[in-house]
């Protein structure tokens, strides 16, 4: 039986395709694709920045995964999104690779709350 859902083939062509598709999306600043041990294999950033990003976010991702495994029922992390003031970083574990994207988010919801007159912040 094929466990196609859990471990599909992540070949070089696949990562190139992923990279290309991500590049075309609007608002994307940086893309970083890491292999299963967290080493960057394809990136649009400088070498130094890429290593730093990869290292720090892998750390964070492990902690998040640990938290989710403690909950009931234990779950796998599918996406980790960290929104900061200047940009948003999305980390997606995906089979044998991990995709990290830094993008420019557009906070449309902030406008909505003003219109409604609610004082619900964030």
């Amino acid at each position: 039986m094929q466990a196609a859902q859990t471990e599909p083939k992540r070949t070089k062509t696949y990562t190139d395709e992923v990279y290309r598709l991500l590049e075309e999306k609007p608002g994307v600043e940086d893309i970083l694709i890491m292999n299963c041990s967290g080493v960057p294999i394809k990136t649009s950033m400088e070498r130094q920045d890429a290593l730093q990003h990869a290292c720090l976010y892998e750390n964070l991702r492990e902690k998040c995964q640990a938290f989710l495994s403690k909950m009931e029922p234990p779950q796998l992390l599918t996406v980790l999104r960290v929104r900061t003031r200047l940009h948003e970083a999305l980390l997606t574990p995906d089979g044998k690779i991990t995709v990290l994207v830094v993008q420019n988010p557009k906070d449309t919801h902030l406008k909505v709350q003003d219109l409604k007159g609610n004082s619900l912040t964030i």
Binding site: L56, K63, F67, K70, T78, V79, T84, L86
Partner: protein, 117 residues
């Protein structure tokens, strides 16, 4: 029962004391039953889950928040985290970091066969 955002003024039981709160009910529309509000230091202000469980959640999520903050500051010292979202198959955890508070919302995706809290 509109006016007050935070529901009943006196809190005898922390659990289930927010059932009439419209604010909480709005979250519950999307399957988010567990909401925890902390101040900037991590002391629990309000929570819709039992104190024991709140403690368990906060004790693992607070270091996570601190860590995320450190990560972001390391990469760019002028940057700071405003929001974090941990997504998984069964649900999501949203953490909002304001200047004076931290808001945690835990959301479950209901499946037809099992009903989860």
């Amino acid at each position: 029962m509109s006016a007050d955002k935070k529901g009943k003024p006196e809190k005898q039981h922390k659990d289930r004391s927010y059932d009439g709160d419209a604010f909480i009910a709005q979250f519950a529309l999307r399957g988010a039953r567990e909401i925890i509000i902390l101040d900037a230091d991590g002391n629990t202000l309000r929570s819709t889950v039992s104190p024991r469980r709140t403690f368990v959640y906060v004790s693992s999520l607070k270091p996570l928040v601190t860590m995320a903050r450190n990560v972001v500051r390391d990469l760019n010292p002028s940057n700071d985290v405003t929001f974090m979202r941990l997504g998984s198959n069964g649900g999501e955890v949203h953490i909002a970091l304001g200047t004076d508070f931290i808001l945690i919302v835990i959301q479950r995706i209901k499946r037809k066969s099992t009903t989860q809290k």
